[in-house]
């Protein structure tokens, strides 16, 4: 009976379809106009617990998590430090806020992709192939 229950729990977990861990969506890198560019994405934490993005790596460029903010009438861009991604929440990296700054990037065009490795405290390394897109003009 106990074995049956374990089996049932396993099957239920497998069939529930509830994703676990960190989901990276809406990821894109802008066509670099110079030696730098930015990557943006949404991070959704499906659990089981809170997590923190502690770094980003790329083989084609140096990468740093930055945050742009308004301070004393100026736009300031500074290293963001660890970024908390609480369970059940989505943290958006978007123009004018959090972004991955890529430095010393080679020329890239629309259609290229850039592999980014997102390093999380709990989830470990999450690798994403990020498409290169035109700079957004909303």
């Amino acid at each position: 009976m106990k074995r049956l229950l374990v089996l049932f729990v396993l099957v239920a977990a497998a069939c529930s379809g509830t994703p676990q861990g960190i989901e990276v969506s809406n990821a894109r890198v802008w066509v670099p106009p110079g030696s730098t560019t930015a990557a943006y994405f949404d991070l959704t934490n499906h659990g089981p617990g809170d997590d923190t993005l502690v770094g980003v790596e790329s083989d084609i460029a140096r990468a740093m998590v930055h945050r742009t903010m308004m301070q004393d009438g100026q736009m300031m861009m500074q290293p963001a430090g660890p970024v908390a991604v609480p369970v059940g929440e989505t943290v958006s990296f978007a123009p004018g806020g959090l972004h991955v700054m890529l430095m010393d990037v080679p020329p890239l065009g629309v259609g290229d992709t850039v592999e980014l490795r997102l390093l999380f405290e709990q989830a470990g390394t999450v690798t994403v192939e990020v498409p290169v897109v035109e700079i957004e003009t909303p």
């Binding site: 110079g34 560019t37 930015a38 100026q74 736009m75 300031m76 861009m77 004018g96």
Partner: protein, 197 residues
């Protein structure tokens, strides 16, 4: 008699709908209104071909969009420039009468070649200016902006800088400025009106 009352009511409603809502005549722009309007600043820098560029004289009579930024900036500067390029592409009449001027706040890394290559990704007609640190500081002050500040050390330092685009009419006055986050529709609504001033 009730019919006349009904007609009067219709007329009143029609009249109310025909006149613009209060306030629109005073503020026809979607950008951030600068009140009172500010005169075009007077400063001289060097363009990417090495020529002297007298901002006031060399943009005289043209709608002029002025932006202080730097090419190492991945997040704000490219958006502002891409927005202007995209909206000017939609408005060829405006484009013909508009000069876009980008002034680097990072002359240390932004050589004339680096600035040219960067601007060409947006529009080959955009003018890029540089100068000594003190000339560039004076240009920002002349435009009424705080002087950009260096953040961090080493090769990856960034610059804190004003993110807005300043718009000067052909008459030489700034009625509006455009912070980061200005949308295409707002640009497209304002530029033709600014051209008439």
């Amino acid at each position: 008699m009730p019919r006349i009352g009904f007609l009067v009511a219709i007329a009143v409603i029609a009249a109310a709908c025909a006149s613009p809502p209060a306030g629109t005549a005073a503020a026809p722009f979607q950008g951030m209104v600068v009140d009172p309007p500010q005169p075009k600043p007077d400063f001289v820098l060097t363009d990417t071909t090495g020529r002297r560029f007298d901002f006031r004289a060399d943009t005289d009579g043209r709608l002029t969009l002025l932006y202080f930024g730097y090419t190492y900036c991945p997040d704000i500067c490219p958006v502002q420039l891409a927005q202007i390029a995209a909206v000017l592409d939609q408005l060829p009449d405006v484009r013909r009468n508009t000069t876009v001027v980008f002034v680097t706040v990072d002359p240390e890394r932004d050589t004339p070649e680096v600035i040219r290559s960067f601007l060409d990704k947006f529009d080959t007609d955009f003018i890029g200016l540089t100068g000594t640190a003190s000339q560039i500081a004076a240009a920002q002050q002349a435009a009424g902006l705080p002087v950009a500040t260096k953040i961090g050390d080493g090769p990856d330092y960034t610059m804190g800088h004003s993110g807005q685009v300043l718009a000067y009419t052909p008459g030489g006055l700034m009625y509006t400025e455009y912070p980061f986050g200005t949308r295409q529709t707002q640009w497209a609504s304002d530029l033709p009106k600014l051209l008439e001033r």
